[in-house]
Amino acid sequence: MIVEIANMLLGGLAAGMVLFIVSVGLSVTMGLMGFVNLAHGGFAMIGGYVIVLAMNRLGVPFVPALLIGFIVTAAVSVVFERLLYQRLYRAPELDQVLFTIGLVFIMIATVTLAVGPETQPLTLPDSLQGQLNLGFMAYRTYSIVLIAIGVVIMLGLWLGFERTRMGAQIRAAVDNRRMAESLGINITRLFTITFAFGSGMAALGGGLGAEFLGLDPQYPLKYLVMFLIVVAVGGLGRITGVFYASLIIGVLDFTLKKYLPQGGTVFIYAMTIMLLLWRPQGLFGRPA
């Protein structure tokens, strides 16, 4: 019984961590800039492709490939932000939605043309494959590694957000942008850096999660709803909120698929609707 519960928790937590790593950037950019960036999953896909192609075609090991994925995707996103996103910061939300969803289609078509329509296989290093003995039971090594990575990223982000000058500036801008600007914070620069960082995190998520979510050109649309649910439930701009929301959704989704495979994902959507009716600002967000 304990083993069964542990199985469920570990499987669900690992899935939740992938959601967290991909979605945290989305939460911050949406919270900070008030920008509805539906192309966020596209950056996760670009990052995933950079990582997998670096490994498969250039023979780069897993960890350096993750770094390359982070850096390349962050750099690409800066170009996009400067050239395109910036023009729409003050635009109505519908314009932002139309623009970013169009960008998703362009990303999908570009990747299909350049690499092909098939799923890209990610081969984990031998040390991350197989089972890890936890004493009372053995479990998939990679799931446990993912949980550890997720916790480390969570702590790092929390410290960075709460304890650094940059973090204080972002928090100030999320809470009251005009006041932050009048205090001399360079919002344009802050936006660019945050956007690049958020996209880089998405890239990490795309690579780390490829084992579970797969990686093909349809990726940004396939998981868009999941990412948005996490952000909506967690609350905009709240890192701890996104963390808890990811874990709750990961574990619930895993448990329901395991015990009620006939129901599919219906329960997650139903619960999200109920939850948002009850708390429109999300579980961990502050009332507007």
Binding site: E4, N7, M8, G11, A15, G116, P117, E118, T119, P121, T123, Q129, G130, Q131, A138, R140, Y142, S143, E211, F212, L213, G214, D216, Q218, K222, D253, F254, T255, K257, K258, Y259, P261, Q262, G264
Partner: protein
């Protein structure tokens, strides 16, 4: 209206064929782009290899292949492609169909078009009952599923099984076939797990975890060949199910030759039932595989889809020769009833009653060869297997009265 257009154009096609009796136009429908492009390529190359290796059997006829992309398993695009081939290109015969939903959606158009239509892959059992012009040279899910149920109970000595399947027509077919024969031979299916759809590859962890907790002797899996099969095998390995004593078994779709090497060591010990794998030891297959590797590279390999296409072309050529290139549908069907052929998969024939294929099924195990690559080792063979769904008149396979 459409029927009238179709009938008119079919008549037109017939007169065109009469005018130049030596030339036979074949419309080939398969996914050449999109998620199934890799599978469409197998059809394309299977056809190409038949034409190359059997040039003398085609003379004096001239074959013209017209390809149409049906893109995805939705059905709609395939139906349009078939309609265009019949009405605009005036083809003498149709061939192809990777996905069952596409063959199912095309069936009414095929019936209205009155042309021989050879199914080269789509494996849902009852498809051949949906149009009198369908002839199948691939397989039905019941060929492998039904044979595997018996082999699991008798040869693998399994008492309990769990079936995991992709939730679409061939998945349900495979489940029904396996369950029927496994339970008829004393086994018990203790759980049936729908594992997402065919359109995209899900994370299989929760489904396989559920199966692992229930500790069956065997886990019978049907998922579409390709990336689904790759993901299932990897997850099976990562969850340590092999060490827990649960054997992974299934139809050969899950050990498709073109994906086998990418599965890695997790696939070793996997036991499947199928009508073809590239390691089959017979003269026809050796010739076929050697020609394939010569043309498409040493790492390329044909798989069961390519053989379905190869044999499909053989069937069309036989019908064309028997009708002297006229390809009158009724005469072509008559020529193919009971037709026998020596295929790379072994001897095959077309069942005159059902227009479906009769062939051998092979029980194989994945082993690691001396060359470091994965191979499929023969454990047993069953001769002349018919589609059990139609033989036993189960569900939608029962003849409509």
């Amino acid at each position: 209206m459409i029927k009238r257009i179709l009938a008119a154009s079919a008549a037109l096609a017939l007169s065109a064929a009469l005018a130049q009796a030596q030339s036979v136009k074949i419309g080939l429908v398969a996914p050449f782009t999109g998620i199934g492009a890799e599978l469409g390529q197998q059809i394309d190359r299977g056809v190409e290899q038949y034409l190359k290796l059997n040039a003398d059997k085609i003379k004096p006829l001239q074959l013209k292949i017209i390809k149409r992309d049906d893109k995805n398993p939705s059905g709609a695009d395939s139906k349009i492609a078939v309609q265009e081939l019949l009405t605009q290109e005036n083809v003498d015969a149709l061939a192809g169909w990777i996905y069952s939903p596409n063959a199912i959606a095309s069936a009414p158009v095929v019936t209205a078009g009155k042309k021989l239509a050879v199914i080269m892959n789509a494996g849902t059992a009852h498809i051949t009952t949906m149009s009198p012009y369908f002839v199948r040279t691939s397989f039905s899910m019941w060929h492998a599923g039904y044979a595997m149920g018996e082999a699991a109970a008798k040869q693998l000595k399994a008492k309990t099984a769990i079936v995991g399947y992709s939730d679409f027509p061939p998945g349900k077919d495979s489940l029904a076939a396996f369950k029927r024969s496994f339970e008829a031979n004393g086994g018990k299916v203790i759980d049936e797990i729908p594992m997402g759809g065919a359109g995209q590859v899900p994370d299989f962890t929760p489904f396989l975890q559920r199966a692992k907790d229930k500790k069956p002797d065997v886990l019978f899996v049907f998922v579409p060949a390709g990336d689904h099969a790759l993901a299932v095998t990897k997850t099976y390995g990562a969850l340590g199910m092999k060490d827990a004593g649960i054997k992974l078994i299934g139809p050969g779709d899950i050990t498709q030759d073109i994906k086998l090497q990418a599965m890695g060591d997790a696939a070793v010990g996997l036991i499947t039932m199928h009508h073809y794998n590239a390691d089959l030891d017979n003269a026809e297959n050796k010739k076929f595989v050697a020609a394939w590797k010569k043309d498409y590279g040493p790492d390329s390999t044909p798989d069961f889809i390519a053989v379905g296409a190869y044999d499909g072309m053989a069937a069309i050529v036989h019908a064309a020769q028997a009708t002297k290139g006229k390809m009158d549908a009724d005469a072509a069907l008559k020529a193919l009833a009971g037709w026998k052929y020596n295929s790379p998969r072994g001897p095959i024939s077309i069942d005159p009653e059902t227009r479906d294929i009769i062939m051998n099924e092979y029980l194989v195990e994945v082993v690691k060869g001396k060359d470091g690559k994965l191979h499929q080792k023969l454990l047993g063979k069953i001769d002349n297997v018919k589609d059990a769904c139609k033989a036993e008149k189960v569900g939608p396979c029962a003849p409509k009265s």
